[in-house]
Point group: D2
Chain length 135, copies 4
């Protein structure tokens, strides 16, 4: 059991019908993606071809911020307003999709972009799954 999941179990809230496995996966994917996008932006800045990576850096920075906030709001999900959670998951999905597309376009040249695109696709899928589970 991951630490994220342990914390959900230790929460005094009755989670009702909410799928805690999907919530756990989405929280973990958001925090991972926030870290990896931050590191990818810095790695792009260190490339000789930085002037060709500007759009990718911006997508990384946006995605890092949106994922970090989504991970935090989900970590407070007990009693949250579902309209806020859903709108934020949509925004996170959009940010991950955009960043994945940018990173994929040069994944063959930069290993950090390949890893980052994977993390974004995982987070996009986790947001998708959780939106579905929220009904």
């Amino acid at each position: 059991m991951s630490r994220v999941q342990e914390m959900l179990e230790a929460h005094p809230h009755d989670w009702g019908g909410l799928d805690r496995a999907k919530l756990t996966e989405c929280i973990e994917a958001c925090f991972d993606c926030a870290q990896i996008c931050t590191a990818c932006a810095d790695a792009c800045l260190a490339e000789d071809t930085v002037s060709q990576l500007v759009q990718c850096i911006r997508s990384d920075l946006d995605c890092a911020d949106v994922c970090a906030t989504t991970g935090r709001v989900l970590s407070r999900h007990a009693g949250a307003d579902p309209s806020v959670t859903k709108a934020l998951l949509e925004a996170c999905r959009a940010a991950c999709r955009a960043c994945a597309a940018d990173c994929e376009s040069h994944a063959s040249m930069h290993e950090h972009c390949r890893i980052c695109a994977e993390a974004c696709r995982r987070c996009e899928a986790a947001c998708d799954d959780l939106v579905g589970a929220l009904g």
Copy 2:
């Protein structure tokens, strides 16, 4: 001219048809709201009636995070993916609306909630206006 606006003018990007006054207002409203919600959560924690303010504190914390991220993404708006910006503005509007409603319900008892509700309503309106301007 505010510092936010000065920075937009100093940006090398051609902003095209984008309404910079609305962008400026929304960035300022997001950063203000992030600060005020953070302070309101702490003020609620200091009230003797904290056990009745739990939902308000959560809304404050969520709203502070979403506004902070929206303010940052908007500060990088040049060349941003419009689908990300729009989805995030929708999430920010929802977070501000939820927090404003919670704070308004005890605004008559707590001055910090009255001020916070106002900041949330201003930010909600600014997000609304900017979504409209993005087309």
Copy 3:
């Protein structure tokens, strides 16, 4: 009276001997600097000479994060552990000093760096003043 100050006045906490004017100034300087550094990083990314601005972009991003967190922690200052506040103010001062130095080195070429350097110097001074006031 600014909104930051209004929120401090509305807080149920007894602030004791703490200089609220200095606390207000430091909170405002931190939030302003976080916004301006974020915008400066994006403006640097949009310059043709981006490959010469890589160090400045990194300093901008670090300074934006440290100022944002310092502004939040200060907004919760009531009852905070003074050792945390002081250590964070030291870190914020260091981040502002480093970013100001980077931005000043090309302030004559880029208006956004000139404005950003000013915001960093103001925030550095505000951190300095507040550390002094905390004793």
Copy 4:
């Protein structure tokens, strides 16, 4: 090899003598601690005894913010100003120590505080180790 470490390896920067295992551990500890402190604050808010947990909630919120920022700045460590990194690690260590002490004081009553105290102590130690490695 963790994803954090993979990203360090994929970075074009020559890391010189820096101990990448310690950097990896500290980045992971910071992101974990940021998530767990956020969840602990929310779990404390859900306890019937919330009025006795106010100080713990504040420490959680401060620690979450400081750890999140430290994790981000460390993820951009290539070419960072060592004085900023060190000062921030000191602040992170102080925030973790304060939060661990608060959580430990009721760890026997609240499982979420027990887990959170552990995460804070791990992050405190990782900051300590990395400060030492930076020389």
